[in-house]
Symmetry: C2
Subunit: 349 residues, 2 copies
Amino acid sequence: MESVDLKKLARLLNLSISTVSKALRDSYDISKETKERVIALANELNYQPNPHASSLRRHKSKTIAVIIPEIANNFFTLAINGIESIAQEKGYHVLIYITHEDAEKEVAFIKHLHNGRVDGVLISLSSSTKDYDHIKELQERGLPIVFFDRVYEHLNTACITTDDYESSYKATQHLIDKGCTNIAHLMFAESTSIGNKRMKGYVDAIHDNGLPFDEKMIVHCTNDDEQDYKLLEKIFRSKRPDGVFASVERYAILSYDVCNRLKLSIPEDIKLISFSNLQAAAFLNPPLSTIRQPAFDIGKEAASILFKALDKKMFKLKQENIVFKSTLVERESTSNSIIRKASDNKKVF
Amino acid sequence: MESVDLKKLARLLNLSISTVSKALRDSYDISKETKERVIALANELNYQPNPHASSLRRHKSKTIAVIIPEIANNFFTLAINGIESIAQEKGYHVLIYITHEDAEKEVAFIKHLHNGRVDGVLISLSSSTKDYDHIKELQERGLPIVFFDRVYEHLNTACITTDDYESSYKATQHLIDKGCTNIAHLMFAESTSIGNKRMKGYVDAIHDNGLPFDEKMIVHCTNDDEQDYKLLEKIFRSKRPDGVFASVERYAILSYDVCNRLKLSIPEDIKLISFSNLQAAAFLNPPLSTIRQPAFDIGKEAASILFKALDKKMFKLKQENIVFKSTLVERESTSNSIIRKASDNKKVF
DNA sequence: ATGAAAGCGCTAACAC
DNA sequence: GTGTTAGCGCTTTCAT
C-alpha cells in the first residue's frame, strides 16, 4: 500500500516536488542530468501519477464515456473495438455505460457526466429515448459528444452512421429481384434514427417497384424476444409474407425460430435478409443474406472525431453526417433457385 | 461551461461550503431545513460533485477496471453484462481495457492502475500471459483483483470459472457415446487455465474409455483465423477425425468452414461439439451441440465478490474457486441417427 | 536550473 | 447547527 508519489520521489532525490514534476513532464527548464535521475527512479519504483490529482488540477480526465443501448450485440461489440483501438493509441481510458434501451438510465448516466469525470462522450441512443434535453445540457456544459449508429441529427455535432436508407432500399430491392411481392419489414423502434431510415428505404423500394404497400406488413418489434416471437408468428401465419427484411440481427434469428416452428422453409416459402454482423451468418441453415455494417470503422471514426475535438481547442464539432457504406452479402436465405448448392448436397441422401 | 460547484451553491444559499457539503452527504448535524434548501438548489442546478476532487480526498474512485482479452466474443460480452449490472446497482463506474491477447498490453494496463484510478480490478488473463508479477504487484499495492474465466489460482484471491474440466470430460464422453473413436481436440492456448483444464477433461475421457490417445489429435490453435484454418484443414485431411471437440466458439465456426470446403458432412463424417454461447447455435447447419457457460452469472459473481472486498474493510479476499456449472446442449452436430429430423425435412426434395 | 507557494473542488477534523 | 481550516497529489506561475 506504500504509494509512490511526487513527494516520495522528491525526498529520495533531494529535489523539490515541483522539480520532479517538471522533470517527469519533460519541461524545458530542467537539466538533462536531473531529468534522467528522476525518470530512472520513477521507473524503478513504478511511479504512476495520481490521476485524480492531475485531473483535478488540469481539468481534464483523459477518459471518455461510451454509452450504448446493449452490449450482447455484434454491432456494438465491434464498434467498441474500433473505439478502444483509437483510445488506446491516444492513451485515453474508456468508461462503458449500458442503458439497456432505457431512456431514464441514459439520462441518469449523462447527468453523472456533468462534472469532469470524462472529457467527451460517444453515444448510441437508446430505443426509448424521445427527447434530447439531457444531451443538449451536456453540450452546454462544454462537453463534446458525438453520436454513432443511433443518432440525433439536430444537435450540432457529428453523427457517424452507415447508409441505412440506401442499404434498406437495396435489401428490399434484392428481395423483389428474387421474386418477392409480399414483403414484411421487421421494424426497429420508430423513435430511433435507424428504425426510421431503414423503414423508409423499405417503403420507397416497395413503391418504386409498383408493389402495393400494406401497413400491416410492417411489424413494430420490441426489445423483448418473447413478445417479438409472437408478433412474428402472427404475421407469418396471417399474412404469409414471401419475403422478410429484418432491420436488426435479433429479428433474423427469431425469424429462423418462427419459421422452424411453423414449418416454413427459408428461402422456398420465405426469403430472409437482415442487417447483421454475425460471424456465423454463412453457416446458418440456410446461410443468411446480410447487410453487413462496417461497425469497427464506425466506432473508430466516431472516436477519431471526438479526439479531434479534444486535441485541438480550435476544432469545433459541427453538425455533419459521416456515412460508411454497408455491404449486401447475398447468401442462400434469399436464393430463388430450386437447385441445391453443391455445399448442401451432403444434406440430401 | 459554467460549472456548478460547492462554492457556487454555498454563495447562492448564504452558507459555508462545508455546510453545503455535509447537507448533501446527509450528515447528522445539519438541520432538516437547510438540508432541504441545499438539496433543492443542488437538484435545480443539477449539481454533480467533481469526482476527481472527491476521489483525491477520499482515496477511492468509485470505479473498477475490467480487463479482458477480447470483446468480439459472446462469453465476454455476457460477462460484462453481468459485471455491469452489479456495478450499476452499486453506483460504480466501469473502465474497460482490452488486451487483444497481448501480455504486454496487459502488463501496461495494470501498471497504469497503480495509483488510485480504480478501486478494484476484474481480469480474465490474456492467452500470452506467462507470468503474474504484474498482478502480484498490484495486489501488494492493496488493490483487490479478482479473476474470472481465465484465471491464475495461486494468488490468494477469488477465481470465478465454469467447470471446465468436467464439462470437457462430458463433451468428450458425449462424442464417444455417439460412436466417435478418433476425436480431435481443438485446444486453446496452453498457457491458460481454460486451455489446460479443457484439454485434461478431453484426455481423461479418452483414457477412461479405453480409447487410444494420439498426441497428434490435439490441435494447438492460435489467435489467428487464417492460421487456425490451415491447422484444421490439415488435421481434418490427414487424420480424418470422426469427432471434434472445440474448446472455444471460434474454432467451431472455423470447423464449419473447413468441413464445407473439404465436403465433410457434419455429423455424418465428423461430429462437432464446442464451448459456445452463440445465440444462433440452434440455427446453424447443422445445429451445433454446445457447452453453454453461465457467462452472465460468472460476471455477476466476480463483480459481487469484488464489491464485497470494497464495501467491507474487514472482508479479505482469499484464494477460493467459485465454479458455475456449464450445460451441455445436445443438437444435431453430434447426432448419430441416420434419420433426418422433422425440422430438416424441408431441406430434402 | 531549481524551489516556494497557490490552488484545482472536495472532505473531515475541529472550532465556535 | 454552522463555519474555519487543513489537506488529498498534482501542476503551474512566479521567485530565486
